[in-house]
């Protein structure tokens, strides 16, 4: 069952109601935006709770143990319980912290990911706003995450936090380049920056049975672009093996060292949501978005994104952490050249 008609119906009803109150158009737009925002915020919270649980269970099973089992069936409510605990904790502020910057850092980190959700197409017609530059929008807006980490690192007035901030900035700026290059090869084939158009460009099949997804197109260049994208995406979301900014064995908790309670939870929320955004981008760009047989589009999209999230989790529990120099070398000496050559190859393929 497609969700888009239902959403349209609700929106029309709300719009009609507001118009009957005689409000000006931009006020109605704002109210609608507020409703979407709260929906997304709720969705994000649920998502993060679910993924934390998934991660703990998957990691447990990878390591041949059970993971949380006590709260709820197979521990499904464990994360909720943890969140409640965090909510009750005292909010400790270091005495020497740069107060405002310290306060704003988790908020900016949350806002950056939150804003990215606006352009994610959760299914056919299921998107808050289909920007005509959607892909670049998401890439651009998520860079605020770096700022938030730098803010947290500076504001905490703690050397571990500062080092974590430095590392994250260097890492994210470096890995943005191969990621954008990998995205560009898709954008070049699709001929559009809009998320919807990119998904639509992947409709149908090749040779009758291979889905017309970019991962399969221009074999093997689509696949290479996907691999580069996934590596760079893992680094962008600061997850293992690229979790240097918060490497617990070196920097306690990196930029989040001085945070506690709800602010700490906010960083967690942002991290897991960013993971989802990355998976959603991967799905849209390479795995055909919502396309798929039999099932409704939003279910296909959800399935693909969850699959990619599971791949990210699998990475985390499989690979050891890199050293800083290895991290930089991987990006500048391997991924960027590969991505460039791949881009060139795709371009030549498209032209010839």
């Amino acid at each position: 069952m497609e969700l888009a008609p239902v959403v349209d119906l609700v929106r029309d009803a709300v719009t009609g109601f507001l118009q009957s109150l005689g409000l000006p158009a931009f006020v109605i737009d704002m109210v609608l935006a507020l409703i979407s925002a709260s929906l997304i915020a709720g969705f994000m919270a649920v998502l993060a709770l679910a993924f934390v649980w998934v991660e703990r269970k998957v990691s447990a099973h990878i390591q041949n143990r059970l993971g949380p089992m006590r709260v709820g069936w197979h521990g499904v409510l464990q994360t909720l319980a943890d969140a409640l605990k965090l909510l009750q904790k005292e909010d400790i502020r270091p005495a020497a912290a740069d107060r405002w910057i310290w306060w704003w850092a988790p908020a900016v980190s949350f806002i950056a990911v939150f804003a990215a959700f606006i352009a994610v197409p959760f299914g056919e017609g299921l998107v808050v706003r289909d920007f005509n530059i959607g892909v670049i929008y998401i890439v651009a807006i998520t860079t605020f995450g770096v700022i938030s980490m730098l803010m947290a690192g500076w504001g905490s007035n703690n050397k571990y936090s500062l080092l974590g901030g430095f590392r994250s900035a260097a890492q994210v700026v470096s890995y943005e380049v191969p990621m954008i290059l990998a995205i560009l090869s898709v954008v070049m084939v699709a001929g559009s920056l809009s998320m919807m158009s990119i998904v639509q460009a992947q409709e149908g099949t090749m040779l009758g049975f291979i889905p017309n997804w970019f991962i399969f197109r221009h074999f093997p260049f689509g696949l290479i672009a996907f691999i580069v994208f996934m590596i760079a995406g893992t680094a962008e979301t600061n997850r293992t093996p690229f979790d240097l900014p918060e490497a617990e064995s070196e920097l306690v908790a990196g930029f989040a060292t001085e945070y506690s309670g709800m602010k700490y939870a906010m960083f967690y929320l942002a991290e897991y949501s960013a993971m989802y955004v990355m998976a959603a981008m991967g799905t849209v760009l390479f795995l055909g978005g919502w396309h798929g047989p039999f099932l409704p589009s939003w279910l296909w999209f959800a399935a693909k994104t969850v699959l990619l999230v599971c791949v990210l989790i699998w990475f985390r529990w499989t690979f050891p952490r890199l050293r800083v120099d290895q991290l930089m070398e991987l990006s500048w000496k391997f991924l960027i050249p590969v991505a460039f050559i791949n881009l060139l190859a795709v371009g030549l393929w498209s032209v010839l």
């Binding site: 000006p24 931009f26 740069d98 910057i101 605020f144 730098l150 700026v173």
Partner: protein, 173 residues
């Protein structure tokens, strides 16, 4: 009061306020934060002016790279315990006078100019048009800009890298 003018004045408040704070606060890190706010406001103006691509580029390049670089420089050059030094030099008065005079002069000059204002509809799909222009009429500036970036990158590395020259050959005594 339309939505557009509301957005304009809201962003103007944000931009001007952030700019003034960016050049006046003592803490350079805070100044960088206000700079980011101002950059974000400019990106908002770009959206208002039908330049969505430029807005995205503004956020991507300015916030994602330039501002990060500025914050890096702040972190590397200023110690956390900021010494109590003057934030401004002794030509504050003269600078203020020149800035205000400049503002008045430019505004007057602009007002006294007749601008050929056009009523044509703004271009849609300007990403495609921009790309095409970059690759045809403006291909030379485009290439030069890329060379400039490369030169800047190498130059920055050369300037900022620590001296690690070849080992000094031992001189005969």
């Amino acid at each position: 009061m339309t939505g557009e003018s509301l957005a304009f004045y809201g962003l103007a408040f944000m931009l001007v306020g952030a700019s003034i704070l960016a050049v006046s606060v003592r803490n350079v890190f805070h100044a960088a934060m206000y700079l980011i706010l101002a950059l974000f406001a400019v990106a908002g103006y770009f959206v208002l002016l039908n330049a969505e691509f430029l807005a995205a580029v503004q956020v991507l390049i300015y916030v994602g790279a330039v501002a990060v670089l500025v914050i890096f420089a702040v972190m590397l050059t200023t110690r956390l315990t900021d010494a109590r030094v003057r934030a401004h030099n002794e030509q504050v008065g003269a600078g203020l006078v020149v800035a205000v005079a400049m503002f008045l002069a430019i505004v007057m000059a602009m007002w006294s100019t007749s601008w050929p204002i056009s009523d044509a509809a703004p271009a849609v799909d300007n990403v495609r048009t921009l790309g095409r222009m970059l690759m045809t009429r403006f291909v030379l500036p485009f290439e030069i800009a890329s060379v400039l970036l490369l030169a800047a990158m190498i130059g920055a590395i050369v300037i900022a890298a620590k001296e690690t020259g070849p080992p000094q050959s031992e001189e005969s005594t």
